[in-house]
Amino acid sequence: MKKIVLSMLLASIGLIASESTVPYKSGLLLPPQADKIYAKECAHCHGKDGKQTSSTGLTNVSYAVIAGMDTAELAKTLKEYRGGIKSKDYGPLNKYGYGAVMISATKDLSWDEIDAVAKYINGLK
């Protein structure tokens, strides 16, 4: 009887751990996972390899290859896009004409996460 109760207890805890489905979300004070952030925030426009140079949405836009960019410079640019102040009056500058879309991609990233992503993109060759 005890055993049955115990096994029911264990089952009710509902522990289903699986390696492949370990979730990640940016901006939660978790250790940064650059590959997951890149896949979610960057790959849509810049491609999995960081070499995509155009995108067709409402308008057709083109931009430079980002793969292999200097880590420090990239991190600085991303931080400028993200900006520090949320109030619209003191908001970040709209750099290079891509301000809105780049803010939406970076606004939830911590400084640590931006540094990690910059390093990841530098490693895309």
Binding site: L15, S18, K25, Y90
Partner: protein, 489 residues
């Protein structure tokens, strides 16, 4: 361990009391405390229960997200009140139950960091399971959540008690500080703040505050004119008194060193008053005048220039505009500008917000906090979800004193729900702020949603008293750590 601590605490207190020629009994009488009951009743496990607990045989799997003061106290009380409790607490931080109200005392060198650090694992009630992971995905439609390690946890009833995050990164110049929780490793934050900016809002930061404060008191003592600047942000914060408490304590330490005349202490709150309750506002304003503090309302810290030691505030005011013939009145035009304030010592009370995983989940709201019925603490959309503590969207409720009232209401209502009964327990908004006005005096600001003082003791609540200092420094911690966390006090 409990007894040893209490004995040590009491002998320390007797020592302080005898300096003033008073016995413990007299002091307690003066404080309106019934004997030493407030200390001992809650602290000894053998003490007879005043309230008769009728255990409920209600069943269901209860999951509590967050194992701080709110989460662990609730787990303890549920364990006391249920025949067959099935409770799981999800908490990754080892020191989550640490005594946060002591951080201002640490910041002024009255306590040490060791006095407030408490280990989560020492406060887990018997039979309660702890998952040492972080819940990051919530699926309340299916009564499930997922942790950062991929563990899927299902529940019948969910209690959200994650606490809140300190948002230092929204201040320009401090972006690399990131966000922080009160406890845990905050070395990155402290590094970003540097050697002249501090905040007692984290446990480690409180210790650093005392270091930085001593440095600047020494500089004032050496004859240098020293500017002490204190801030209060635009968001709801935990312990609304702390931004001022640390100012009062800095003032006390400056006076102790005979360095007060070289120091200028200025308070920059975002709001337009010292306190939400008029009686306490008036009392604090008088204290500010008496202590020769300066203050500027409607200033919100938005930027720091660490190199040149300048704090930048967004200052807001209103101006009379042109005549509006429809409204038959003058228009009011809101104005604001950046004000640059030089500082030597800057104490930041950061903006505070719900953790992103909560705020952006279906459990959150546009404001980020968990929307609950403010009286029953039940979620407004999911009837099997409750929330309490800092993360709950309850007006004025972000203190340990509020939690002390909330967790009993929550437990009563959850058990009622499990038994299919109506939720009758109601939280009335009680909160308390033992406002330290000097080393040795405290004004016990108690109030609720009526926004008027609701004193527990038959004494004028707007007067600063030494007996409340005794209560703050000696009695409230054991009541919290051994009373609340065992589900009793």
């Amino acid at each position: 361990m409990d007894k040893k601590y209490i004995e040590k605490m009491l002998s320390k207190m007797d020592e302080d009391l005898s300096k003033k020629g008073m016995s413990r009994r007299e002091a307690m009488k003066l404080a309106g405390l019934s004997g030493a009951g407030i200390f001992m009743g809650a602290a000894t496990s053998a003490s007879a229960e005043e309230e008769k607990i009728v255990k409920s045989n209600a069943k269901g799997k209860i999951v509590i997200v967050g194992g701080g003061l709110a989460g662990m106290s609730t787990a303890a009380r549920l364990t006391l009140n249920l025949d067959n409790p099935d409770i799981t607490v999800i908490e990754p931080e080892k020191l989550a139950v640490s005594y946060q109200p002591g951080q201002t005392l640490v910041g002024a060198g009255i306590w040490d960091q060791d006095d407030i650090a408490y280990n989560r694992d020492d406060f887990v009630p018997d039979g309660v399971k702890v998952i040492k992971e972080k819940a990051i995905l919530f699926n309340p439609q299916e009564n499930k959540l997922t942790t950062d390690k991929g563990t899927v946890v299902s529940y019948d009833y969910l209690i959200v008690a994650t606490g809140l995050q300190l948002d230092f990164e929204r201040i320009k110049g401090l972006e690399e500080a990131g966000r922080a929780y009160s406890t845990g490793d905050n070395s990155k934050l402290l590094k970003a703040l540097g050697d002249d900016i501090c905040s007692v809002y984290t446990a480690e930061g409180a210790t650093k505050t005392w270091e930085i404060m001593q440095k600047h008191i020494a500089s004032a003592k050496s004859g240098k004119k020293t500017k002490f600047v204190f801030t209060h942000p635009s968001t709801p914060i935990k312990c609304g008194g702390a931004p001022k408490k640390i100012m009062y304590l800095a003032n006390a330490r400056l006076k102790e060193e005979g360095a007060r005349e070289n120091a200028e202490l200025t308070f920059y709150p975002n709001g337009g008053a010292m306190f939400g309750v008029p009686e306490y506002h008036d009392a604090i304003l008088e204290q500010f005048k008496r202590e020769d503090f300066k203050w500027h309302y409607r200033h919100n810290l938005i930027e720091v220039d660490k190199e040149n030691k300048i704090a930048v505030f967004d200052s807001k005011w209103q101006e009379k505009g042109p005549w509006d013939p429809v409204m038959k009145d003058f228009e009011v035009i809101p104005k604001h500008e950046k004000i640059r304030v030089p500082y030597d010592f800057l104490h930041i009370t950061p903006a505070q917000l719900a953790p992103r995983e909560i705020g952006e989940s279906d459990l959150g709201s546009a404001k980020g906090w968990v929307p609950v019925n403010k009286e029953t603490l039940q979620h407004i959309r999911y009837e099997n979800v409750f929330s309490l503590g800092d993360v709950a969207q309850v007006p004025m409720g972000k203190t340990g004193g509020s939690v002390r009232k909330q967790y009993k209401v929550l437990v009563d209502n959850l058990i009622a729900l499990m038994n299919g009964k109506t939720l009758e327990a109601k939280y009335a908004g009680y909160t308390v702020c033992p406002l330290i006005t000097d080393i040795g005096t405290v004004m016990l600001a108690e109030f609720d949603w009526t926004v008027s003082p609701t004193p527990s003791f038959p004494l004028d609540p707007t007067v600063e008293r030494w007996v409340f200092w005794l209560m703050k420094v000696y009695a409230l911690k054991p009541m919290t750590m051994y009373g609340m966390l065992s589900g009793k006090a």
